[in-house]
Assembly symmetry: C2
């Protein structure tokens, strides 16, 4: 149930002292092959952390033999020195891995680096580099769960997932509990597979999977500087799936992890699914769903168990999607509280007592649909984000 | 210090029983002339309340002799019946005003209507129409402050303003404490002037004033269905200002009222001024300021007295404005905590103990600038908006 479930991978998670309190903060995932194909998807934020700038280059080469991830510091907005720190981390990881397996000769350019934590501060390299050495020493085929724990920040629990194809497996881990949005939840995720696939196929599968999973989580509308999703393929199964098969299984794991991210969102008391149907295009459906997901008045109403469809309609009205205001229908937990843009069924029929809330918005403008996942805006969110520097 | 300060206006504020508890909820502003020129600016939301649809048509005629405003119900998302209610309100107001001053012969098409309160419910016309009659009976040249009280919803205090030109005066009132944004704070405002001006001049002056005042308040990023700003001109001063003179004085009152709106934002503990300088264009500066103003992580950090410039930079990075991430400078309350996109002065030097916070973002990409006003995201905001249906 982790990144080490597919054959050909080892992982580790150790404490290097980057976080206060001694929790694990350095994770390492190593692809033992025989192949080392890789793909990556990164934040759209123009302010990109040093490890994102580095790993984008690494992934362009199509070969990734190891991914080293740290929590306890984002290494974002750290200037040229921060980039040198990332480079040094990759070089050190490659050197230590080569030293323990002399025949392997790993280069820094095959090591992906990811960081998460506070923005704007340099990483304590005097602790991080020894931590990498410790991680290499504890690499194991059962190390996936430990790696998933080491990338946690405000996450309340580690996030692992696995799905099986015909003769091959995809595993994954993710972190993320806030700054979740928009074109990719703010998060780090490493997906692994023992399928045989070239980098182009991996890239196509990963992009297709992210588009309908991580990209449709919108917790708080805030886009991170560090978002990274990697897909590493060992080829150890010897099985060559079609692109469609691989995409389906990667999507299953990404979906599972995305749901775990939303469920663990900072301070959330509700998990909200926004189904937009009857849209003229999928883009319209995504825009409407995302806009409603980001609306603080909708989010606070749901925190207060108020099926406030008027706020939902007011949010829909700010989009450029095709719809007529007097033809929109809205259901909250199955009760059509709004039809033709006006009050319909009695809002008191809506039961908002549970954790799960489903909003269905029928734009009655076409046949396209999309789903966005979000959560409510609670006292807990305000508390956590006014107290935690990130 | 109100809409009745300029000559030629009477106003009233009465309780019609629309709100629970008997607070005033119907306001009336009457232009006694000799002129009745008017201009209006309305919400950009595609889901427009019935009174907005009505008043847009009224203002197009360029003549407005009375504005009737109610709190206790937005009359938004109420279907064709809701529009008929607005029409009936205008007709009743015109009829009652004509009855008490038989020579005047007022038509419904000269009566602007504004509503604010809960979305999605019909107004109790059996209470509203008698309330209009009561308001007509209490019209007075000192009635401005009473009118300003009658349009309050979650406002903690009424908002009035006045400014003087050479021989003419502009007065105003406004309501608004939440759903404040983006292209116009969610609000109702009536501005009055005794200047002599044709509708085209009034329209130009009002649009120019709103663009740099109400349009630059972004409290919670949520755009309303009911936003309306009216400018009514009586011509009673006999003075014909230039368009520039009129614009300057209207802008002064709108600025004053906009600041009062931000200061009264729901649950806010900080008043935040975001100065964006060094932008390649004013549009870029507005986009950057607005994006930072809407970022929940920035807003919660400031609630927690945390000068978290990393979150500010992460927000700037999501815009399309011209800038280089490694050349942006950020100051919080005068301390340049970020230079060249990385940490600079010690963030502990920033004093966030007071109510006022000024963030200066220098994009170093040009000479344009803009200011956006916002507030923090507090427990009070969550409380108020999870408990209050609007």
């Amino acid at each position: 149930m982790s990144v080490t479930t597919p054959r050909g991978f080892r992982a580790a998670g150790v404490s290097a002292g980057l976080k206060e309190g001694g929790a694990a903060d350095v994770a390492l995932v190593v692809n033992d092959g025989p192949h080392a194909g890789a793909a990556g998807v990164f934040t759209n934020n123009r302010v990109k952390a040093a490890p994102v700038l580095w790993t984008q280059q690494v992934v362009q080469g199509g070969l990734v033999r190891a991914a080293v991830l740290n929590s306890g510091g984002a290494n974002a907005c750290t200037g040229p020195g921060g980039f040198q720190d990332t480079h040094a981390t990759a070089e050190h990881t490659a050197a230590v891995l080569t030293a323990v397996a002399p025949g392997s000769s790993l280069g820094a350019g095959e090591v992906a680096v990811c960081s998460t934590g506070l923005i704007g501060e340099r990483l304590p390299m005097d602790r991080l580099l020894p931590g990498v050495r410790t991680a290499v020493g504890t690499l194991s085929q059962d190390g996936g769960p430990a790696a998933a724990e080491a990338i946690m920040t405000t996450d309340s629990r580690p996030k692992n997932g696995v799905a099986h194809g015909a003769g091959f497996t995809v595993g994954g881990m993710a972190k993320g509990a806030g700054m979740l949005a928009p074109a990719m939840a703010t998060m780090l995720s490493v997906l692994t597979t023992d399928a045989v696939a070239d980098p182009e196929t991996l890239d196509a599968a990963l992009r297709a999977a992210c588009r309908v999973t991580f990209d449709r989580v919108d917790s708080d509308g805030c886009m991170s500087t560090n978002d990274t999703v990697l897909l590493l393929a060992s080829g150890a199964s010897g099985v060559v799936p079609t692109e469609a098969e691989l995409t389906a299984v990667v999507t299953a794991v990404a979906h599972d992890l995305a749901q775990q991210l939303v469920a663990d969102a900072e301070g959330a008391t509700k998990q909200i699914t926004i189904d937009v149907v009857g849209a003229a295009s999928e883009d319209d459906a995504v825009e409407v769903g995302r806009t409603v997901a980001r609306n603080n008045l909708v989010k606070t109403a749901l925190f207060g168990n108020d099926p406030n469809w008027g706020r939902i309609l007011a949010a829909v009205g700010t989009t450029a999607a095709a719809f007529e205001p007097e033809r929109v229908d809205v259901a909250v937990n199955g009760v059509w509280v709004c039809r033709d843009g006006a009050a319909a069924e009695d809002r008191s029929k809506v039961d908002l007592g549970g954790v799960d809330v489903t909003i269905c918005i029928d734009l009655r403008a076409g046949a396209a649909a999309a789903t966005i996942w979000t959560n409510d805006l609670s006292h807990g969110y305000v508390h956590e984000n006014s107290a935690y520097s990130s």
